[in-house]
Symmetry: C2
Subunit: 137 residues, 2 copies
DNA sequence: TTTATATATAACTAAATTAGTTATATTATA
DNA sequence: TATAATATAACTAATTTAGTTATATATAAA
């Protein structure tokens, strides 16, 4: 499952990307505008920063800005940064492979289904999303 | 997320399908053979029966048998019977759509990604799976 | 140089979901 | 009539997710 946190992180990045490059916005403003709990925004920004996508400056007149071209960030990347490696089942990516050591045919199917989903998420960038969001306002 | 219960249900059906049509097997035997907690098998069989896929006869020499051609059951159907309608995010299929009434562009992306995954699961039948399982033994 | 405003980091709590267990009822055969 | 099986329901424990609380740190402006 893609968590709400990952969804929030995407929305945060899209919000930043919807302003001219280099614009600084406070985390509070993002939280207010996008109806995300304020401390969650802060929490998520720590991870976005870790990924190199954003940077923050402290103090009055401080805030967050996007560090990279939003076309270079895709949704899969953001989701995996926030939620960790995805798995549509516990069988996948989960340290505990099937008990029976023989080749698990179900696993291949899960894997195919998951890759199919990920390929969609990999194709969509924050840029695209920010444009869609901007249009609808 | 596809739950373990859904995965178990698929394995149960594949196990039934791996025997000649009409074969009766006890739930205990399935549980033992496939390493599934016995009472879970019983619990899941209630749903599989409800879907019309299996039927059980009670008493000594009773057991479960497959009621339909395994080629007519696909994985998506089983998963949705056990887990209910799937959603790769809470946003999808979840009674609580986005707060902002304006069209949610993210939702469309989730939806596309999910459909892409489901189309794979829809394509694979219990029959196929039972063959793969049988081969590997 | 002090105050206020902002990010940064970590730990904690509550709610929801998932997995599995326990208990009991019902049916049918030997 | 005892036993072996399915059937149904309620409960419990573990895990995950969502959100909160607390505290530290940096910096600009007064």
């Amino acid at each position: 499952m893609i968590t709400k946190k990952a969804e929030y992180a995407i929305i945060i990045l899209a919000e930043l990307a919807s302003h001219p490059r280099g614009t600084i916005i406070t985390s509070k403003a993002i939280a207010r505008k996008r109806s995300i709990p304020g401390n969650l925004v802060v929490q998520l920004l720590a991870l976005l920063k870790e990924a190199g996508w954003t940077s923050g400056t402290r103090g009055p007149s401080g805030g967050i800005k996007l560090n990279v071209d939003p076309v270079s960030i895709n949704l899969k990347q953001v989701i995996e940064k926030i939620d960790g490696p995805m798995g549509i089942t516990r069988c996948l990516f989960n340290a505990n492979p099937c008990q029976d050591k023989t080749h698990c045919s179900l696993r291949d199917i899960w894997s195919e289904a998951q890759l199919s989903m990920l390929s969609v998420l990999e194709r969509v960038t924050i840029k695209q999303l920010s444009e869609a969001v901007t249009e609808s306002r």
